[in-house]
């Protein structure tokens, strides 16, 4: 579903991604872990071109989205993204946050979108918050709304950029629970996270990124049970 070919990204001459080749299949749950500054968030943001790669290609559903002719706005509709800082629109109610994109982009009528918003809010456990503003919500609630907002466009893949890193510890669980449900329903997911237990339970494949490269990738059992890369062994000894 997503293929990257020798993907590279530099910021002001500093190479953050040093050539990443990845195939992410439909239905796969890929979890990316690694120390901060390893390039894992940059890699994720390159997948929907929030960061434009310096070199290499990204293919999504058979289309080279790094080519100039590609209508990236259309393709992004099929790639939901959840951010560390939630990035809800503070001037809109929860309901409007969810319905704005599908209605404006002509995917649904306002009535359909409103109905869908309530369904999605029910799914993330917040139907009573439809008319609240984001500031009235806790961090965990905000992130659940952000997930609902991304799902409203009916994406084929969901990208999560450290979705629980800005949350109070007691709110991490509620967000992870929704992500688990989503995974069980078969959503294709790429998750950058520090939650090792989530990686262990949900991932089909775990990637370890360090210094702009994928140093090791494996099933969670092998990844956590039998890590081979020395840097990964060191990393795991610190976080587990």
């Amino acid at each position: 579903m997503i293929v990257t070919k020798s993907l590279k990204k530099s910021f002001n001459g500093i190479e953050v991604l040093k050539g990443i080749d990845q195939h992410i299949e439909k239905g796969e749950k890929v979890v990316i872990v690694g120390p901060s500054g390893s390039g894992k968030s940059t890699f994720l943001r390159c997948l929907n071109l929030l960061e434009v790669p310096t070199a290499g290609e990204v293919w999504f559903e058979g289309v080279n989205i790094t080519s100039k002719e590609c209508d990236i706005n259309r393709l992004r509709q099929k790639m939901g993204m959840v951010f560390q800082q939630f990035n809800l629109f503070p001037h809109k109610t929860v309901r409007q946050n969810i319905t704005m994109a599908p209605v404006t982009l002509g995917v649904m009528s306002q009535a359909e979108a409103d109905k869908r918003a309530i369904e999605l809010l029910t799914r993330v456990g917040l139907p009573e918050k439809a008319d609240s503003y984001p500031r009235q919500l806790s961090g965990g609630q905000k992130q659940r709304v952000a997930i609902a907002r991304a799902l409203a466009m009916g994406p084929d893949v969901m990208l999560f950029d450290e979705p629980t890193s800005a949350l109070d510890p007691e709110m991490v669980g509620e967000v992870l629970a929704i992500m688990r449900e989503l995974a069980e329903e078969g959503m294709t997911m790429v998750v950058v996270t520090h939650e090792m237990s989530f990686a262990r339970e949900v991932a089909n494949r775990v990637l370890f990124m360090d210094d702009g490269q994928v140093k090791e990738e494996n099933t969670p059992e092998e990844f956590f049970g039998n890590p081979k890369d020395a840097r990964l062994q060191d990393f795991l000894s610190k976080v587990l």
């Binding site: 992004r76 509709q77 809800l88 001037h91 982009l105 009235q136 466009m153």
Partner: protein
């Protein structure tokens, strides 16, 4: 009693006698006209320059636009408005039948545009980067994200500063007298030259400016209150 009586007499002479209040009213009208047209022009110029600056930052091909906008704001903000007023009056509007009010409005508009540009630019840039990213990640184009997400949030930061700019502008137009415009300040000076009491008319003018500024400040507060609905807990 004597002091109060003489104050009353001075006020009567400066304001009532020979319908002198009409002079202040006429001056006030000119001040208002110049200020209103100048702020409208200033907002138009400021909007264009701010958008020019913001887009030049993200796109190397637009570097020339960025340079022009920067020269404009630097020169205007770095020189006194009185000097600008005299230069524009003498250099550009040399024809005899120019309307001084138009000259004043254009000059103060050009001047205000530089400050408004910085206000709008700062307002747009004050909106968190993540908002644009969230908009783009949902499939909105750059312009859609600007219009639906960034601008509505930026307005909340821009409007109060814009109101302050209008207040500053109204006070600054008091130098318009140098190009033979009879604004409120100049009108007060005229009255003073007729009654040989210079101070009282100036106090009346000062009080008028103060009242206008206080009213505008009030309106601005009310507007801010209405706009911060989504900020409530």
């Amino acid at each position: 009693m004597i002091a109060a009586g003489s104050w009353g007499a001075a006020f009567t002479r400066a304001f009532i006698t020979d319908h002198r209040y009409l002079a202040y009213l006429g001056g006030l009208k000119t001040t208002a006209l110049i200020s209103v047209f100048a702020i409208i022009l200033g907002i138009l110029i400021g909007l264009v320059v701010a958008v020019g600056k913001v887009s030049a930052k993200g796109n190397r091909k637009l570097w020339l636009i960025g340079v022009i906008c920067n020269i404009y704001t630097t020169v205007i903000r770095g020189t006194p408005v009185m000097v600008q007023l005299l230069i524009i009056y003498n250099l550009i509007f040399t024809s005899r039948n120019t309307n001084e009010i138009v000259v004043g409005a254009v000059c103060f508009g050009i001047n205000s545009g530089a400050y408004v540009a910085e206000i709008i630019r700062a307002g747009l840039e004050s909106v968190d980067r993540g908002q644009m990213e969230a908009g783009r990640s949902l499939g909105f184009s750059y312009l859609q994200s600007m219009r639906l997400i960034i601008v509505p949030q930026a307005v909340k930061n821009i409007l109060p500063a814009l109101g302050n700019e209008l207040i500053t502008l109204i006070k600054e137009t008091s130098v318009a007298g140098v190009i033979a415009v009879t604004d409120l300040t100049k009108a007060a000076q005229y009255v003073g030259s007729v009654t040989f009491d210079i101070l009282t008319p100036l106090f009346i003018a000062a009080l008028t400016y103060l009242v206008i500024v206080l009213i505008l400040t009030r309106l601005l507060k009310a507007l801010e209150g209405r706009m911060s609905r989504s900020d409530r807990y």
